[in-house]
Subunit: 290 residues, 2 copies
């Protein structure tokens, strides 16, 4: 982490929970001069400015990105392609561009489609942070403290661009590591995308039952913790599913097979299988969990 | 809730998280004279006595139960039958017996097997409370405050016995409702037993992967909340699975089918299906969750 790290002009496109928290964190760290916000929603940008999250804004994304030293794409992954096309004319040889998408191969593919060659200043990144809430109102400067950020530079990413994005996230208090984009997508499919599918599916299964009122009335603390992530933004998760389709369907297949085996073990009264499974899981959870 | 409710001599068999917390809560409410603990483990009972949770103890369960006005079976469900057989000689026409098992039909069947006819003083009950921790050291008087307790009286349960158990739990701060045992088992399979299976299976699936260290290293807050219940006691959950086998395998079948459909929707890029599912789930979670 460089002590004299500084961004003169930062453009954040999509000033929601992640974009807004990044702006707040960099402001708090005192390492940015001007933060320009952009999105399609004028009123939303006004709120972000009123909250002091951004200094100025443009709904015209190209205008917002012009003369920016660093551009952060913090929009849902389904909107990345359109945003990239809009800002394309503003990208120069020295512009550093990064994103915050939860799946990296899909974002890289979109960038390649729009730009024809991947810009040397493009540093795909994923801050592993968030809450089930969304929107700039939910943003806060400490969101990334002690959290991990994975950057997945492509073959022609300029190491200086990677260093700038690494520094940027470190100044937000995050621990930055580098990973291959494909491997990132597999790891995140397992640890984040799969659990979200399980929670969404569980709440939906129960919500479609006849006695759903009674069922939810008797749900206790464990159920609430377990299903909290089912309150996450449906549009965002729609985008993640479709962007990380391959890795997610693969881990879902493995999980469904495992769950079918567990169900079969219960059906045949196989206590040994159950104890072995639960013991392995508890040991792993106790070892790796908080 | 009767203001002059009082238990002269209470016997708690199994002084763990639930049994210990019940003892602490009744003591705090000042509505019990003497609490006798029992279990197979002498040292464990000594600790419970040293912690002030119980007044006295016997490892001989029959002896512990003799002259008790209320007997609470707070052992794992797999041990219920043996415990019932051990205390059978101590049960008189006026003894009130209850349990805290998470599946009611199985406990009732065990009682019927041991006693030949269901005692009129037998009030099957289930406090929906607990943490992922276990043992008397984790017990605390407030565990049942504002939590639900379901009692599932059988056809010949004496209403006076039901009133005593209802009163007992109300004095712990719990909200007591009555339910048919079969319906209880279905509701709990959906809200508690199924989520535990999903969490155990998820952690186990990931723990058996080659890059498990990396996977767990990148697991964020949502994953930790989601998998907390996978730290629960494996023996207890082994017992719950086998005791509530029918309802649990049934809801697992429904869930697996739903999850397969979600996976298929991701595979065929069916964004509408995904958005509809996630929106329904979020709406239900936001409505019923905390």
């Amino acid at each position: 982490m460089s002590a004299d790290f500084h961004i003169r002009r930062l453009c954040i496109i999509g000033v929601g929970l992640i974009g807004g928290s990044l702006a707040r964190a960099l402001r708090k760290a005192g390492c940015v001069d001007t933060i320009i916000g952009s999105s399609r929603d004028h009123q939303h940008l006004q709120r972000a400015q009123a909250l002091g999250v951004i200094d100025d804004y443009h709904t015209d994304m190209r205008q917002a990105a012009t003369h920016a030293d660093v551009i952060v794409l913090a929009v849902p992954m389904g909107a990345m392609g359109k945003v990239m096309a809009a800002i394309k004319p503003a990208i120069t040889a020295t512009t550093v561009i990064t994103d915050v998408g939860s799946a990296k191969q899909g974002v890289i593919t979109q960038m390649l489609t729009v730009m024809e060659t991947l810009p040397a200043g493009f540093v795909p990144a994923h801050p592993i942070a968030g809450t089930e809430k969304s929107g700039v109102e939910a943003s806060f400067a400490e969101l990334f403290e002690q959290r991990r950020v994975i950057i997945t530079p492509h073959a022609h990413t300029d190491p200086r661009a990677s260093a700038i994005i690494t520094n940027m996230w470190q100044h937000c208090g995050a621990k930055v590591t580098t990973m291959d984009a494909k491997h990132h997508d597999e790891v995140l499919a397992a640890t984040s995308h799969l659990p979200h599918m399980l929670a969404y599916a569980l709440v939906d299964t129960l919500a479609r039952m006849n006695d759903r009122r009674e069922i939810f009335a008797y749900a206790a603390g464990g159920f609430r913790d377990f299903t909290r992530i089912a309150s996450s933004d449906p549009q965002m998760w729609h985008d993640i599913c479709l962007t990380n389709r391959e890795a997610l369907t693969q881990i879902l297949n493995i999980y469904i097979t495992d769950l079918q085996q567990l169900r079969a073990a219960i059906e045949r009264n196989d206590g040994e299988y159950l104890k072995a499974t639960f013991n392995r899981a508890k040991a792993a959870r106790d070892q790796y969990g908080e």
